[in-house]
């Protein structure tokens, strides 16, 4: 098992190097640091000295890939690539445009982000799978038809509508929860409830329908016929056989859902003023703070690769056919 995990981790390394190269090309080759300096300082009335000063302050004044003027190892290390991209592997993110340390900021914001993303993920999973099982149980009836119709209807509505509408109804009309904001500890509950409900609702249509398709497909398999033939009740076929066998495609789908979770909390966080990573990213995008965006791209990929790793490991728990080889 350990050897398997180690090999999977090693497999993740080239992917992260690839991500690093892509971000480097995006942020430093498509536009030169000079362009970015002019962007930050405003396009008009900007002197070459001001650009040089800005580049110096942010460490962009070095050569991109190869520093011929430095000696020894410095030829490779005293470059923008090494300082800005390679150091991401050591989780050294540098400073944001406002001078704050990005790593500190991330540490402070992980908590609120998780307080939102984890319940959305778990509650959503429970609700969607229950509903999908329910539909699969009543497949090819009117109940199933209207259930699927509900899903298609709900997935056709923009997530922005759920957020704006939910905020208006729950906070403005009914005064159930505060419109936005966040507090630590147990107080977080009243700020997080509405975003969690909205997060679950906005992913409900797509996911529930996806799970239903998996279950219905699973129901056409031979083992289901065998189970029914030997006289098992439909409920024990559903829960004992179909649900367990459907876990593999569901797990695969969950990995795909993790970046979407990030995407979801990106807008939810900023709408509800939750000081998490999502709102940090949005603020950075709007302020064109490239250092922060670059760091978030890297962290996002690390999280995704980790999720991929956990999925592979969890396959071995739900599917005895998958062996570590």
């Amino acid at each position: 098992m350990l050897a398997y995990i180690v090999r999977r981790i090693l497999y993740a390394v080239p992917i992260l190097i690839g991500v690093n190269l892509i971000t480097f090309v995006l942020f430093f080759v498509v536009n030169t640091p000079d362009d970015m300096a002019r962007m930050q300082l405003g396009t008009r009335r900007v002197t070459p000295e001001a650009i040089e000063k800005w580049k110096g302050e942010h460490g962009y004044d070095r050569p991109l890939l190869w520093n011929a003027s430095a000696g020894g190892l410095g030829k490779a290390t005293q470059t923008v690539f090494f300082e800005k991209s390679v150091k991401l592997f050591a989780l050294e993110f540098g400073a944001a445009e406002d001078g704050r340390d990005i790593a500190n900021e991330i540490r402070a914001r992980v908590g609120p982000s998780l307080a939102l993303a984890v319940p959305v993920f778990l509650v959503g999973l429970a609700v969607n799978i229950t509903f999908a099982l329910f539909l699969a149980f009543f497949r090819a009836t009117y109940l199933d038809f209207w259930g699927v119709t509900l899903c298609v209807g709900m997935m056709s509505i923009s997530a922005l509508f759920y957020i704006i509408g939910g905020q208006y109804v729950a906070s403005k009309l009914w005064h159930l929860v505060p419109i936005s904001g966040y507090a630590g500890g147990l107080d977080a509950l009243k700020f997080v409830v509405l975003p969690v409900v909205i997060g679950v609702v906005s992913s409900f249509g797509t996911s529930a329908r996806f799970y239903r398709t998996i279950f219905v497909e699973e129901l056409t398999r031979d083992y289901v016929r065998t189970a029914r033939a030997k006289g098992l009740a439909e409920t024990s076929v559903m829960f004992g056989h179909v649900l367990r066998n459907a876990m593999i495609p569901i797990l695969t789908g969950l990995v795909v859902a993790i970046p979407a979770l990030f995407f979801g909390s990106l807008i939810t966080e900023s709408f509800f003023g939750i000081p998490g990573l999502g709102s940090y990213t949005i603020d950075a995008i709007q302020a064109q703070d490239f250092a922060v965006v670059r760091s978030m791209v890297f962290i996002g990929s690390v999280l995704y690769v980790l999720a991929l790793l956990f999925t592979d490991i969890s396959y071995t728990f739900v599917d005895p056919r998958v062996r570590f080889e």
């Binding site: 942020f27 056709s156 509505i157 923009s158 791209v297 990929s301 995704y304």
Partner: protein
């Protein structure tokens, strides 16, 4: 010439796409095996209903994709013709009464007065603070009391016109009905009815009122909604156009050649996939913005700049979404290349390129069509979110995203400004819902696996 045509890149591509689709349709008609899935699709009621709903969207979008500059009045007899710097589209001309009637600021649907109070001078010289009358909305009314009567008169005229058109349509459709008997024409006719019943009164009412109100700078919201349709269509279709070469090429090459080619392509798409999509899009769009802002000399008019940004957004979305299609096609090609007919082709000495284009590609085409259909609605929704984050279309481009974004801040006003956000969501919901339903029927018609499951269940 009374006008000078302006060829924006997205216009050209959109019309090219229309031509290609028409050509494909014509080609399909002459090949029974290609036409068969489409026949299956158009025999379902859902497909027909959704196509009927999508058609007006398509027409509006295409009318908005013919751009030109109108000719200005000749100053002197000998001087060269000069054209207005403003780029207009066919839709702008058709809806010129909506475009030109700009109020000062917000006004509610069917309102005759502005949303905000202003200092007004009365006839006798006194000054009062009140809601001023609108410049255009309901301006034809001498007395505001008449509004309800006037509105119902217009609505009734609209309903009568709708009913007449509807009955006329049943008569027009009759020969078509005989020609393609299997198509559920009844469903189409019953969808056209409600559409007409909504559209005709709205059209007549829009002559005298702002049916969906006006936005912050006084633009008619109905006009903005109509203009947004083109942006949605462009993003939904051109993105898939940008995605297809990568998706198809890499997918079948990886599945067919295997070995190091497969490893390399898998590595590339796993890497791209592991960057959360929205962050990659945001980063790419930010960089594109810097590029555009640094090179103003490349874009002489604002329309061209906005168009370039729209095109680049499609490209960026395409580059970040091809991975899903590649994975599907790779898997399918792996399966296909084991089959006897491919091995027979090998044995006959058919070249790899020929096997890929003549034997593999036609047999994975259904996956491509299904993906394109399914992607469309997702892309329309994505555009709205991206524009909210600030990495979507150019702020000068009207889109559902920019409309929602502009109206979002006014939600806290009292009384609430709900109309422009409601109009954007309503137009978007109908478009996305119809596209989703159509995509479902396309999938059911094309995917052999879904058909098998449907038969078994």
């Amino acid at each position: 010439m009374p006008f000078l045509p302006v060829f924006l890149t997205t216009d050209v591509l959109l019309w090219l796409l229309v031509c290609v689709s028409a050509g494909y349709g014509w080609y399909c008609r002459r090949h029974a095996h290609l036409a068969a899935p489409w026949v299956r699709v158009f025999q379902t009621r859902t497909a027909v209903v959704s196509v009927v709903i999508l058609t007006p969207y398509l027409l509006v979008g295409l009318a908005d994709s013919l751009h030109f500059r109108t000719r200005l009045e000749q100053v002197g007899a000998g001087s060269a013709a000069s054209y207005s710097p403003e780029v207009l589209s066919l839709l702008d001309i058709a809806a010129s009464h909506l475009r030109s009637r700009r109020e000062k600021t917000y006004s509610a649907p069917f309102a005759t007065r502005l949303y905000a109070k202003e200092q007004i001078e009365l006839a006798d010289g006194r000054q009062v603070r009140d809601f001023p009358r609108l410049q255009y909305g309901g301006a034809h009314l001498r007395d505001e009391e008449e509004r309800v009567v006037d509105m119902s008169r217009r609505a009734a005229a609209g309903l009568a016109a709708a009913a007449a058109l509807w009955i006329l349509l049943a008569w027009v459709v009759k020969p078509l009905r005989r020609r393609w008997a299997a198509v559920p024409w009844g469903a189409a006719w019953w969808t056209v009815g409600p559409l007409l019943v909504i559209a005709a009164p709205v059209l007549l009412l829009s002559e005298g009122y702002h049916v969906f109100g006006t936005d912050k700078v006084g633009q008619d919201v109905l006009y903005l909604s109509l203009k947004s349709i083109r942006t949605s269509l462009v993003i939904g279709t051109l993105t898939t156009l940008a995605m297809l070469p990568f998706g198809i090429g890499f997918g079948i090459v990886a599945g067919y050649f295997r070995g190091w080619v497969d490893d390399l392509i898998q590595y590339v798409y796993t890497t791209l996939n592991s960057i959360p999509g929205v962050l990659l899009i945001a980063a790419a769009v930010l960089m594109m913005q810097v590029y555009v802002d640094m090179r103003p000399e490349l874009f002489p008019t604002a329309a061209e700049r906005a168009d370039f940004r729209l095109l680049m957004l499609c490209g960026i979305l395409g580059v970040t979404t091809w991975t899903g299609l590649t994975r599907l096609l790779r898997g399918e090609t792996l399966k296909l290349s084991e089959l006897e007919y491919i091995q027979a082709a090998h044995a006959f000495g058919v070249s790899n390129a020929r096997i890929l284009t003549r034997h593999i590609l036609p047999n994975v085409a259904h996956i491509v069509i299904i993906t394109v259909a399914l992607e469309f609605s997702a892309l329309v929704l994505t555009e709205a979110v991206l524009s909210y984050i600030g990495v979507g279309v150019d702020p000068a481009t009207t889109s559902f995203g920019t409309m929602i974004n502009a109206a979002r801040l006014e939600m806290s006003r009292e009384p609430i400004v709900w109309w422009s956000i409601a109009a954007a969501f309503a137009f978007m919901l109908v478009l996305v819902l119809a596209a989703n339903l159509f995509a479902d029927t396309v999938r059911d018609g094309f995917d052999p696996r879904v058909r098998m499951v449907a038969i078994a269940a």
